[in-house]
């Protein structure tokens, strides 16, 4: 009696399981192609070390510093002009540098020598990136500039920096939001993420 | 507990013997009685005259805390960053009731467990107590403490119910 029950049960189980397998395998075999597993990081990719080597040591304090501090007081927008018009603030072309430096040449300055070398070779200067928001974040510079956000709010007092460095701004979402709420700017997700 | 107190522990094989011992002891005015049983035995509890347990208050407080937490939390988070989904109101009460309910149960249970541990005086792993391992198996026990001068009387009562074992405890450790 017992044996029969077990046998009947086992047979039925086998039939059911084989049904599932037949269906799962489908009529023909399909192979699963391998996909790359990419982790998604919220973290922004930034230079680890703020004093990494730039090809030219560009002293922001000399260029943008206040004139009574010995700087030239050049406005940020003079070089990073597309910040007013574009999402990207832009890096000035070498020609912009040469606009002044063909005339302004502190004697024996190695850095200006190097700049001239780049210019003569018609090569762009490979600056190091200091600020970067995550790739899934859109940061339209022009909206912030036109809303009157001071460059220093994110970039710090660049006019006092001999070597450009990332100010200890977290560049996190919460940090952005704090300001957005303070300024009554939109908190809609699709303003930055799309 | 005064140092003058001493205790005596009796182990019984029979339930009725245990109950009778307790009743007799209480009749004679022995109030510091601890009974041991391998399972919850209401005759013993009745003999000791127990009333309601305060654990249920813990449960009530826990449940109400859970309700409050659930409502506050769901409403707060919804209002903290109001985002519309599916045309539903920011504070969607029917949806939030589910979470509130679960929180009520969770807090109620957690408070109850804390309450019962508190009232049972456990965990208590260290204290050196009079105990017979048979209590968790098949025997009942009665432990009574009394001033040294009345101990003999208690002992006599216990003996009259023919315990399987009788042990004196000079130090009179309390079972709280």
């Amino acid at each position: 009696m017992k044996k029969q029950w077990f046998l009947a049960g086992a047979a039925c189980l086998a039939i059911l399981v084989s049904f599932a397998f037949v269906h799962a395998r489908g009529v023909d075999e399909t192979t699963v192609s391998a996909g790359e597993a990419e982790s998604v990081e919220m973290a922004v990719a930034l230079a680890d070390d703020p004093s990494f080597d730039d090809p030219i040591e560009f002293p922001h304090n000399v260029h943008a510093g206040a004139t009574d501090d010995g700087g030239y007081g050049i406005d940020c927008m003079y070089c990073h002009s597309s910040a007013e018009r574009s999402s990207s603030a832009g890096i000035p072309p070498v020609a912009s540098c040469m606009g002044c430096h063909s005339a302004v040449r502190a004697d024996g300055s190695e850095e200006i020598e190097r700049l001239t070398e780049f210019w003569d070779a018609r090569e762009p200067i490979p600056w190091n990136r200091v600020y970067k928001v995550a790739d899934h974040v859109q940061f339209p510079h022009m909206r912030h500039v036109s809303a009157g956000v001071d460059c220093a709010m994110c970039h710090g007092n660049v006019e006092e920096m001999g070597v450009i460095e990332q100010v200890q701004q977290p560049l996190t979402m919460g940090w952005c939001l704090d300001c957005h709420m303070e300024m009554s700017a939109s908190r809609d997700c699709t303003v930055c993420h799309y | 507990m005064s140092a003058a107190h001493q205790g005596v522990l009796a182990s019984f094989d029979y339930l009725d013997a245990t109950v009778d011992s307790i009743k007799s002891l209480r009749e004679k005015g022995f109030d510091e009685i601890t009974a041991f049983a391998p399972f919850p035995e209401h005759h013993i509890e009745e003999a000791l005259g127990y009333k309601n347990s305060p654990v249920r208050l813990f449960t009530l407080v826990g449940g109400l805390t859970g309700v409050a937490t659930g409502i506050a939390f769901t409403v707060f988070t919804a209002l903290d960053w109001p985002l519309v989904t599916g045309g539903k109101p920011i504070v969607s009460i029917p949806a939030f009731i589910v979470v509130t309910f679960e929180m009520a149960i969770l807090f109620g249970v957690l408070f109850t467990v804390v309450g019962v541990f508190w009232n049972m005086r456990v965990p208590d792993l260290k204290s050196d107590v009079v105990y017979d391992p048979e209590f968790s198996s098949g025997r009942f026990g009665v432990y009574v403490t009394a001033p040294a001068d009345r101990l003999a009387e208690a002992r006599e009562i216990l003996e009259s119910n023919s315990p399987s074992r009788l042990e004196d405890d000079a130090e009179a450790k309390s079972h709280g």
Binding site: E38, M42, D48, R129, C189, T190, Y194 | G87
Partner: protein, 1004 residues
């Protein structure tokens, strides 16, 4: 003027631009490099896209395009609205040009044959080898070229002339019979323009003018403008006569499933009947009288009464237009069939009204297979000692019987100018990587007087050491000592344009100013020679209009080999966008299929997906069957363009090459290669496969998905029982409030309904209207969307599992389809995108707010917040949410150069869907805000709308009653899919298709 090139220097913001913005590919280097320009180009602002006008090189139509570049990379191709051919739109193949530009299988350097393989060599060696090879061959040199721009043609002819050799043109899809017929009928050796827009009755004898024939984008536009119902209820009627319903045929109002090859007889009989009613057939009057309707009906296997109906239609039509058989219908009497169609045009008064010679399609006129056949026999005979092949792939596109491969082996020195190592290049002794049309100079002349310049929009993709064909030829000329007036092809082109400018009497002032204008606009219009009165002329050669002779056993099935609307003649096959684009007809992607009528299949015991062997006297292939009610029972059809052996990773081994079934036979009159030439035997192999299709069911089951309305009802203002059910909305305090029936999108959300802070007064509601009476299902929107939104491809295996990632699903429902009798055909297309529902079911189920409603009415999807529960997709009634199951966005370099930096590249495990091109909305808003103004109506144009050749899509603000969107949506035909059932309040308003036959009333 080399400045032109400088502007397109890459802004070398590598690392940022390499893969666009992305969820994938976060930089592994801690320090990224920022590369500024050396000299800032005036018109480039970093982060702002720059547009260049150029010309599309995908097909002979020669659409003018605008190419969007950002940081020096071309990222999107769009139609040039100023161009008369494209009119701002573009087809799927046009969009996919980018994937040819960035194709990872492009040649990296010149290659020299070495034993069985090829080895890389330097350009110096290659040019030296080319020059010496051709110098030695001298007059034994032959150039075999595909479609070639006019200026490049001049240069090539100049060079060939100096060498004393010859040049043969060959295009796989040739319209030689039409051209020859035009010469015979009207004495004009050219291809006339077919003005579909002005027609009120369109008769196609098989031409697939919406897919591949001549100028699909232009035809699509014209067709949609005439057959799309007008405000006054007028609408052109389209009758399709042919053995197989192509996509074009699917858009017909009536289908006459005529026997293949009977077009000539039918057209002449119709012409004869019209002559009886007073039509004028000129010198063909006696010819047309020889064909009566009953004989034609017999030949075409249709009832004579149906042809009489057709005569009535033609007679009543004010501006009818008749189109010939097209490439798929090229049979042994193809010229005669085309001629008959032209005669019918003339008799019904189409010439001059809808058929024009002043806008003839010069671009489409290429020479025929006959010339190539001669060349092949010369190659075999040893008369050709050097062969240069460019822009064509005859080793793939010719039937094996042509003997081209063997002949090429027989040539002493063979050279291929190619972008990829294709089937022809692999046979060559020397392979030169030529530049893509978006990175080299050229021009086109799609019609008389219209000249478009094809300017490079970026520097050559640095992964590939390629050179423009013109520059290769100029360098060759220098090495051969041939005098030219230019160092670079850019200069050569300018010189030719300068000549043309002077000849035309210097319109627009001096040449420099004119040239700048041309570069900006992409084209110039010169006065064209006036075309006088065009009249029928007596035929100068004998033609047979009878049913053409077919090879193979009598009991076989007629075989139609038609050009694929996706892959064309096969040159699109290595582009994943095109391979994965579901075929507009079958909805199958990646592989080949054979279309067999369900009844025929049932008789043979074949089911959908069974692999059959197709055998003709000329060859055999094996392919799975797709049962299709749109082919005659005695006919099967298969697309060309698949089955590459040596073309690249996305093409090789995908499908079968249908040309293997055909003989290399030229049509006696025009010399064109015949396609409809043989019968085929079908035999099941006993094997079966699942079809890589996106189609679930083609039956709507009377659900309110694609309702239609009969045109008479529409005119009478009677939309049947289409009074929408009262709609309700959730009320602020709970419960529901009814929305008045006149509350159309602009009043949404209804006052008092639950919308929290989302104040309707302050926010727009973006919405879309899609006119299904205009949509032809061409699927250009799908590829445009892929290009704009970085939509990844998944490949055949994943498609088989049902995992395609397209944001637009072009649904195709079959309502009425009968291959037995002439009658109405009703196939309905529905581009299904995210409906951006007001009450979106997907939103509340997301546990992390990755799906939510934006204040401006979008259904937002925040990729970086998504954890991948897929609950939203389950709960989406429209099934428009797609999931990235693997890291589908990881594509080989440099395909990722195409990625739009404004759109996040989605990672594995993330849900995505149509965003209404939110990046375009935000860009416009940013621009408007910077300029201190409001966003204008029509300023935001999503990629699908931008690309739609049928102009079926309108986008705008539903809360602005004046917006074009609101106006269009107020049409009585407007409905929202299933809204009445599930109260989703979609933002996409569809306008019902309008039919000539009565339709089932569906409550919407």
């Amino acid at each position: 003027m080399s400045d032109g090139m400088k502007r397109r220097d890459f802004l070398k913001v590598l690392g940022v631009t390499g893969a666009g913005a992305g969820l994938v590919g976060c930089s592994t280097d801690n320090v990224e490099k920022l590369m500024p320009y050396v000299t800032a180009p005036e018109d480039i602002t970093p982060g702002v896209a720059t547009w260049y006008a150029s010309a599309c090189g995908e097909c002979p139509a020669g659409c003018g395009v605008w190419v969007k570049t950002q940081e020096g990379r071309a990222i999107k191709v769009e139609g040039n609205p100023n161009h008369p051919v494209s009119g701002g739109a573009l087809c799927a193949r046009g969009h996919s040009g980018l994937q040819a530009l960035y194709n990872p299988d492009r040649l990296e350097s010149p290659m020299r044959r070495n034993g069985d393989g090829h080895e890389a060599i330097s350009w110096e060696e290659a040019e030296e080898m080319l020059a010496s090879g051709l110098r030695d061959a001298g007059s034994g040199t032959a150039f075999l070229t595909g479609r070639t721009g006019p200026t490049l043609s001049v240069l090539m002819d100049e060079l060939v002339g100096e060498l004393g050799g010859r040049r043969v043109e060959y295009e796989a899809l040739s319209e030689a019979p039409l051209r020859e017929a035009s010469r015979i009928a009207f004495g004009r050796d050219e291809i006339p323009a077919f003005d579909l827009e002005s027609a009120d009755l369109i008769l196609s004898f098989g031409a697939d003018f919406l897919e591949t024939w001549l100028s699909p984008v232009e035809h699509n536009r014209g067709f949609a403008r005439s057959t799309g119902v007008q405000a006054d209820g007028s609408k052109a009627r389209f009758v399709f006569l042919g053995a197989r319903l192509s996509l074009t045929g699917m858009n017909a109002d009536d289908w006459y499933p005529v026997r293949p090859g009977s077009e000539g007889v039918v057209a002449l009989a119709l012409a004869g009947a019209l002559v009886d009613r007073g039509g004028d057939a000129g010198p063909y009057a006696s010819l047309v009288q020889e064909y009566d309707l009953s004989a034609a009906a017999e030949a075409a296997d249709v009832p004579v009464s149906s042809l009489e109906t057709l005569v009535d239609l033609l007679d009543e039509a004010e501006s009818p237009l008749i189109l010939g058989p097209g490439v798929a219908g090229q049979h042994r009497n193809a010229t005669a069939a085309n001629l008959a169609a032209l005669v019918l045009n003339a008799v019904s008064g189409a010439v001059g009204t809808t058929l024009h010679f002043d806008r003839a399609m010069t671009g489409a006129a290429s020479s025929s297979y006959g010339d190539l056949a001669t060349l092949i026999s010369d190659m075999e005979g040893g008369a050709v000692s050097a062969l240069v092949v460019r822009g064509t792939n005859p080793a793939f596109s010719l039937p094996s019987g042509s003997g081209f491969r063997e002949a090429m082996e027989n040539v002493g020195f063979s050279v291929a100018l190619a972008t990829q190592m294709d089937e022809t290049a692999v046979l060559a002794d020397l392979v030169l990587p030529e530049g893509h049309y978006l990175e080299s100079w050229g021009d086109s002349n799609p019609r008389p007087g219209v000249w478009a310049v094809q300017q490079p929009v970026m520097q050559p993709v640095p992964h590939f050491d390629s050179r423009g064909t013109g520059d290769i030829l100029l360098s060759l000329a220098r090495n051969l000592g041939v005098e030219t007036d230019a160092e670079t092809f850019h200069d050569y082109l300018r010189n030719r344009w300068s000549d043309r400018h002077s000849e035309a009497g210097q319109p627009g002032g001096g040449f420099e100013a004119f040239w700048r204008q041309v570069l900006r606009e992409g084209l110039a219009q010169f006065p064209a020679d006036a075309v006088g009165e065009v009249e029928l002329q007596s035929p100068d050669r004998a033609l047979s209009f009878d049913l053409p002779e077919m090879d193979g056993e009598d009991d076989g099935l007629n075989l139609i080999v038609y050009p694929s609307s996706r892959l064309g003649d096969g040159r699109g096959a290595n582009r994943p966008w095109l391979q994965e684009l579901p075929d507009p007809v079958s909805k199958i992607a990646w592989h080949s299929w054979v279309e067999v009528h369900p009844d025929t299949a049932a008789e043979m015991g074949i089911r959908k997906g069974d692999i059959v062997r197709l055998e003709t006297p000329h060859g055999e292939v094996q392919a799975p069957v797709w049962t299709y009610g749109g082919v005659r029972r005695d006919t099967v059809a298969i697309a060309m363009g698949s089955g590459h052996e040596n073309y690249g990773r996305y093409a090789d081994g995908k499908g079968v090459n249908a040309m293997r079934l055909l003989p290399a036979v030229e049509e006696a009159v025009s010399g064109a290669l015949v396609h409809l030439v043989t019968r085929v035997q079908i035999e099941p192999t006993g094997r079966h496969r699942r079809l890589a299709t996106i189609e679930g069911s083609d039956q709507t089951r009377d659900r309110a998905i694609v309702p239609a309305v009969q045109v008479d009802d529409l005119r009478a203002g009677d939309l049947g029982d289409h009074e929408p059910r009262p709609r309700t909305e959730l009320r602020g305090g709970g419960g529901f409030i009814p929305v008045p029936s006149d509350a159309e999108p602009e009043s949404f959300p209804h006052e008092g309904s639950r919308y929290g802070d989302y104040d309707p007064a302050e926010n727009r509601r973006w919405a879309m209207a899609i006119d299904l009476d205009k949509c032809t299902g061409c699927s250009a929107c799908i590829t445009a969307c892929q290009s704009e939104n970085n939509v990844a491809n998944v490949g055949e295996d994943q498609l088989l599992m049902g995992r395609d990632l397209h944001w637009i699903r072009m649904e195709r429902y079959v309502e009425t389809l009968d291959a037995e009798e002439p009658g109405p055909v009703d196939i309905r297309f529905l581009p299904m995108i995210c409906q951006h529902c007001g009450n979106a079911p997907c939103e509340p189920v997301c546990p992390v707010y990755a799906a939510y409603h934006t204040p401006d009415g979008l259904n937002g999807q925040i990729y970086n917040r998504c954890v991948g529960t897929r609950y939203c997709a389950n709960n989406c009634p429209y099934k428009v949410r797609v999931f990235n199951w693997f890291g589908f966005s990881d594509v080989p370099e440099p395909l990722n150069w195409q990625y739009n930096p404004d759109v996040t590249v989605r990672a594995e495990g993330v849900m995505e869907k149509c965003s209404f091109c939110v990046q375009r909305i935000r860009t416009v808003e940013n621009r408007a805000s910077t300029e201190g103004r409001d966003v204008r109506d029509g300023e935001v144009v999503p990629a699908c709308q931008q690309s739609c050749p049928a102009e079926a899509i309108v986008f705008g603000d539903a809360r602005d009653p004046e917006s074009r969107l609101s106006q269009v949506s107020r049409d009585g035909r407007t409905y929202r899919v299933m809204d009445h059932l599930i109260n989703t309040q979609p933002a996409v308003n569809y306008l019902r298709k309008v039919t000539f036959h009565p339709v089932t009333d569906i409550h919407v």
